[in-house]
């Protein structure tokens, strides 16, 4: 009995310590209808599987000036790309690159081909294929201190009011997460599922598309695709969601 009491006291002490508190971060997955959740979980229902298949075809495609396919350097995508998307954006040759940026860097240097346009089918196919290999793994955001300044800038942008509506990301996704905007619940904005198949888009889209989407929503001038500002926001969001499970390719309404 006394032992039990001691255990209970120990339990109380443990739960009251701040760093052992339950994680209050929730993926937008929890806000979706059961049918949409099923669509995400079951890859025979998830339309993003077509992008994965396209990506698998591109992975072994040697049709470029250097006659090199992704598979020639990286071998099997299932092995080599496991957990890779969980670490982006990170510093590559002194530059902050997100996953799409890294794919294009390989594309231009190793394959000596023009970079894929953002949101083009081949780029989304490759990024979806690569991100899919990290499904179920925790986000392991880059701890590289050399990009701490980028993280700070991303954080500043996240809290900075912008656009005609004069709203910051944080005002909706931190302060009002869980409340409603129009008919939908405002999510906490964790980048766990990108690239996502968004039913509204009828298409797969990157995190940058989603960020630009919000910026046009508050009637701000959107940062261009591939810009350092969007990569900095990505970095801030990834560190903020560190440890959360990757769902890519997620379904979102």
């Amino acid at each position: 009995m006394r032992l039990l009491g001691q255990c209970a006291l120990l339990g109380l002490l443990l739960t009251s310590t701040p760093f052992l508190q339950a994680d209050s971060r929730v993926s937008a997955y929890a806000l979706m209808s059961p049918t949409n959740q099923a669509m995400q979980n079951d890859m025979s229902l998830n339309p993003a599987m077509f992008w994965i298949m396209d990506g698998e075809a591109l992975w072994i495609d040697r049709n470029n000036p250097s006659s090199k396919a992704c598979v020639d350097c990286h071998s099997d995508v299932k092995q080599s790309m496991k957990g890779v998307s969980a670490t982006f954006p990170k510093r590559v040759q002194g530059k902050l690159l997100n996953l799409e940026g890294q794919i294009n860097q390989c594309r231009t240097t190793r394959q000596q081909s023009p970079a894929f346009a953002y949101e083009s089918k081949p780029l989304l196919a490759l990024s979806t294929l690569i991100a899919y290999q990290s499904r179920g793994l925790p986000i392991a955001a880059s701890k590289d201190s050399a990009i701490d300044a980028d993280f700070q800038k991303g954080k500043t942008l996240y809290f900075q009011r912008m656009g005609q509506l004069n709203l910051s990301c944080a005002q909706c996704h931190d302060d009002r997460a869980g409340l409603k905007l129009a008919g939908s619940v405002i999510p906490q904005a964790h980048p766990t599922g990108y690239p996502i198949y968004r039913l509204e888009w009828q298409n797969v889209g990157s995190l940058q598309r989603r960020l630009r989407n919000c910026m046009s929503g508050v009637r701000a001038e959107q940062y261009p695709y591939g810009s350092v500002e969007l990569a900095q926001i990505e970095l801030y969001l990834m560190r903020r969601a560190n440890g959360m499970r990757i769902e890519s390719p997620a379904i979102r309404p």
Partner: protein, 109 residues
């Protein structure tokens, strides 16, 4: 020369005689409605799948007409009754000579 695209059909490999089994058929298609315009104001011509037919040993078991309001990558979930072993054929036809055919065998025990 007809256009085609990826399609994935999910159904059991075997079924008991008389059993009702579920079939899922999803196809990759943009389903461009014909009502949208580019940023330059040019109308994007319609490009949709018009018809989906499933036949079981040559007998039609499911058919659907598709319209511009149907979203991209249409998914159908429907049921069929296992009569005898054979082949199910799934056929999507649409605008601009679109044609995709997938065949899948089923063994009835």
């Amino acid at each position: 020369m007809s256009r085609s695209s990826r399609a994935v059909v999910t159904l059991p490999k075997t079924a008991k005689r008389g059993e009702v089994f579920s079939i899922r058929a999803i196809v990759q298609h943009e389903m461009e409605s014909g009502f949208r315009h580019t940023e330059q104001g040019v109308r994007v011509p319609r490009d949709i799948i018009r018809e989906f037919v499933c036949t079981y040993n040559g007998k039609e078991v499911f058919k659907a007409d598709l319209h511009p309001g149907v979203g991209s990558n249409p998914l159908f979930i429907f049921y069929a009754k296992a009569d005898q072993s054979g082949t199910l054929e799934f056929k999507w036809t649409g605008d601009n000579d679109y044609l995709t055919i997938v065949k899948q065998a089923i063994t009835v025990l």
